[in-house]
Symmetry: C2
Subunit: 351 residues, 2 copies
């Protein structure tokens, strides 16, 4: 795995993204008698890595009412749709979107097939690990890198490349696998919602085909419940074999206004719970808010410079500015990572 420069200037990307962990796939199984079942339910904290307080309470209250038949806020199962962002919401996103690291590694891996890249921007700066020059080339340069690293191969090949990368690549500063940098409290939240028959969807600016090879294992979220940015594809027969080839052309940017569009395209229903961490999730929140069914907005605020990263209004990744004002003003659930979360990453549980 190539080493990247340690100085990452903030940068805008088209956005793209991943995860792993000891994701619990089932709620605790209870014993056979009714009494023990009830006792267990009362005594088992569904969100053990969350500190008690207003945020945790608001989530548990919402779910309890939504699943209590006869309650005015009861929600029918088919309407229990949850949409959650990925980068900065389910896993970390600093110093840059993890999918960008994938793209950079892929350019290194492909370099031998493209000797001309040595002297051609934006590839030259990637191959020289010169992030500053790369970033100076702006969105156009990044887009070229993303396309060169993501397109031109079949969907099967791409899935296999992502799988191999995610299984081995290391985060430049945390020195952990990227899928170890998922948020333990969010894994618990997904698990809790699924146990209460909410259908959980990822709705991410990250690439849909970058996420699908690992979201099932890491988050217990099926491939068909992952919504993300996409490039166009083409079906063809290569040597008689049916193949879907990835084209170097944007299909959907699943960020900002693209999130409700993606939700409508893939889910066909407004969410009742929307979870995000940045201004890029605001339109998704509004879309959930426009649901005629009772709904909940949850915002993750990165406040922990020790265990994770602390950033909001000034950050060029996961900028949380306009949405921070609106979340405070409207009383949306605002997760203060430093205060609300006992641990950040699953490996802290094992320490």
């Amino acid at each position: 795995m190539k080493k990247h420069s340690q100085t990452f200037p903030c940068f805008l990307l088209l956005s793209f993204v991943i995860l792993f962990s000891s994701c619990q796939k089932q709620v605790d199984e209870t014993s056979s008698t009714e009494i023990i079942l009830e006792e267990n339910q009362e005594s088992t904290d569904p969100l053990p890595s969350w500190n008690d307080g207003k945020t945790k309470e608001s989530i548990i209250n919402f779910v309890t009412k939504a699943t209590t038949e006869g309650h005015p806020d009861f929600i029918k199962k088919e309407d229990r749709i949850v949409t959650t962002d990925n980068d900065g919401t389910l896993w970390s996103e600093q110093p840059a979107y993890f999918q960008l690291f994938f793209a950079l590694d892929r350019i290194h891996a492909l370099a031998s097939e493209h000797p001309e890249w040595k002297n051609k921007q934006p590839y030259k700066s990637v191959l020289e690990n010169d992030m500053k020059t790369l970033m100076a080339q702006g969105e156009k340069g990044i887009l070229e890198i993303v396309m060169a690293s993501h397109a031109g191969i079949s969907t099967d090949e791409f899935a296999s490349i992502v799988k191999d990368w995610i299984a081995t690549a290391q985060h430049p500063t945390k020195k952990k696998k990227y899928t170890e940098l998922v948020f333990q409290p969010m894994l618990e939240l997904i698990n809790y919602l699924q146990a209460n028959e909410f259908k959980t969807f990822i709705v991410s600016g990250g690439g849909i085909e970058f996420m699908r090879p690992w979201t099932e294992e890491v988050y217990n979220i099926p491939k068909d419940q992952v919504v993300g940015s996409s490039i166009k594809t083409k079906y063809e027969y290569k040597d008689g074999q049916p193949t879907i080839t990835r084209l170097a052309e944007i299909d959907l940017i699943d960020d900002k206004e693209g999130k409700p569009v993606g939700i409508n395209r893939y889910i066909g229903r407004k969410p009742v719970i929307a979870i995000g961490n940045s201004d890029g999730d605001l339109q998704m929140m509004h879309w959930a808010e426009s649901n005629s069914i009772k709904n909940l907005q949850i915002y993750i605020h990165h406040t922990d410079s020790t265990r994770e990263w602390a950033y909001d209004r000034e950050s060029h990744i996961g900028t949380f500015d306009k949405a921070l004002d609106e979340a405070s003003q409207k009383g949306w659930a605002l997760v203060d990572m430093a205060k609300d979360w006992k641990v950040i990453y699953p490996y802290e549980l094992k320490d």
Copy 2:
């Protein structure tokens, strides 16, 4: 509801499409003891409207092996993906795709807002119920009708219009609601597959937002498991309200090569069971066939001129020619509607 001309020449469409019935949402519930459970399972025919024979046997054999742990053809739950066409596979499609009738009715309904349509083709021929002239204008004319009837409004409005129409509109010759023209044996097959933990997806040339308002109730297939043709959309705030507006621009034609593309976009996995009725489903069959997991192709052959319609190689709707040869040659499950199905429509059960 406007009456259409009774003479429908065959026509090509971009393809688009619906259903209703006494769709059983659950498998028969069994009594409490193990013995009764086993007896029930053995004695209950999961496909009661299917005549015994090679076709029924091949389906039940496939499902039984796929769900028997330890069997070499066992399929893990997450891989149990079923994709089924809609028009001509789950409901009838003659004398024309039902969604076209919706489009024509919609043009009539909108006519008062567009006085210029009276003298302007292709609208003029629609308003005069002159199908021959309409069809003579070819795909361009049909596309204009589809766009004028499907675009320019919000997704919420469109869903509500479809719901109202499907609840009341009548088929021109059968004199039944369109959702009564679903195939009872297919409802049983969907129910049987779902009971065996297959995830059932519609993959149709029909419009995704034309199908979603009713597929849940009629087929017990959730909105997010419906894949179809789509037009582009735009997220915006109208009077401060979040709105998704339908644009008059094609996004995906989910037919032929578009079917594997749609499957990859929405599901991210190859099917293990693919069901269709026309040459337009052939690429979907090949995509399923390229699955490394054991898979099954099912083709519905319209052979019943009395109870439904009989057509195949020469039909301009649901043309079944190249695929008929390939199905026979490869030994795919070929459903002979006249021979294999005891009843066609659910209402026959009540007669």
